[in-house]
């Protein structure tokens, strides 16, 4: 079975500062990893995903994440945040060999960008 841990429930950061949102996962098999963003009163939108290959993944809106297999982490980063980045961010995993299309989500990190 897989699980996802997002250690920070809330992250306040000033505008134009860098940010890192942490995600750790647990799995006995290789998994696919995802970051989703949920703006207020909206559904989830895919930011980026890691399936294979380069461990540094670039996504939309200037976000990137690095897959670290030894530390079972997939932290999300942005070098300079904007007010518009204020949202909830979810890390998720999927086992591509499970025979299902089930995603396991973390509990989310609320990013609040301060002026």
């Amino acid at each position: 079975a897989q699980s996802v841990t997002q250690l920070d429930s809330q992250v306040p950061v000033f505008e134009e500062a860098p940010v890192e949102l942490r995600c750790n996962y647990s799995s006995s098999v290789s998994v696919y990893l995802f970051w989703y963003v949920q703006y207020p009163n909206q559904g989830l939108q895919l930011l980026l995903k890691y399936l294979s290959g380069s461990t540094l993944v670039k996504g939309i809106n200037g976000f990137e994440a690095e897959f670290n297999k030894s530390q079972t982490s997939f932290h999300l980063r942005k070098p300079s945040v904007h007010i518009s980045d204020t949202a909830e961010y979810f890390c998720a995993v999927r086992n591509p060999t499970s025979g299902t299309y089930k995603y396991i989500f973390g509990t989310g990190t609320r990013l609040k960008v301060l002026a």
Binding site: G43, L44, K49, F90, P96, Y101, K102, Y103, T107
Partner: protein, 114 residues
């Protein structure tokens, strides 16, 4: 990508009643998924709905409580039956992208049960 709409966007219901949530996709898809997002918690998969067959429910979710219909390849409904305040959540439907290596989500239905 897929564009997904849900109705209603929000509702306030009395305990003991039922609510049916509709999910419409702008393209034909084989599988549709229903998730629950309880306040302050993560998304949890309720069931997978295939057109023409019974939905597959995850552990902890039963058909009597969350009946699902999937009459065609672009539409699905989820009913929350005999509601209690513990059912207050956001309910989201989603569909898979190519090889299901990403999912597209609807805007959600915010349900409050009094």
């Amino acid at each position: 990508s897929a564009v997904i709409s849900q109705k209603p966007s929000r509702d306030i219901c009395q305990r003991g009643t039922s609510l049916t949530i509709q999910c419409q996709v702008d393209s034909q898809v084989t599988m549709m998924f229903w998730y629950r997002q309880q306040p302050g918690q993560s998304l949890t998969l309720i069931a997978t709905a295939n057109q023409g067959s019974e939905a597959t429910y995850e552990s902890g979710f039963v058909i009597d409580k969350f009946p699902i219909s999937r009459p065609n390849l672009t539409f699905s409904t989820l009913t929350v039956s005999n509601m209690s305040p513990e059912d207050s959540s956001i309910y989201l439907c989603s569909v898979g992208g190519f090889s299901y290596n990403e999912q597209f989500f609807g805007p959600g239905t915010r349900l409050t049960v009094l």
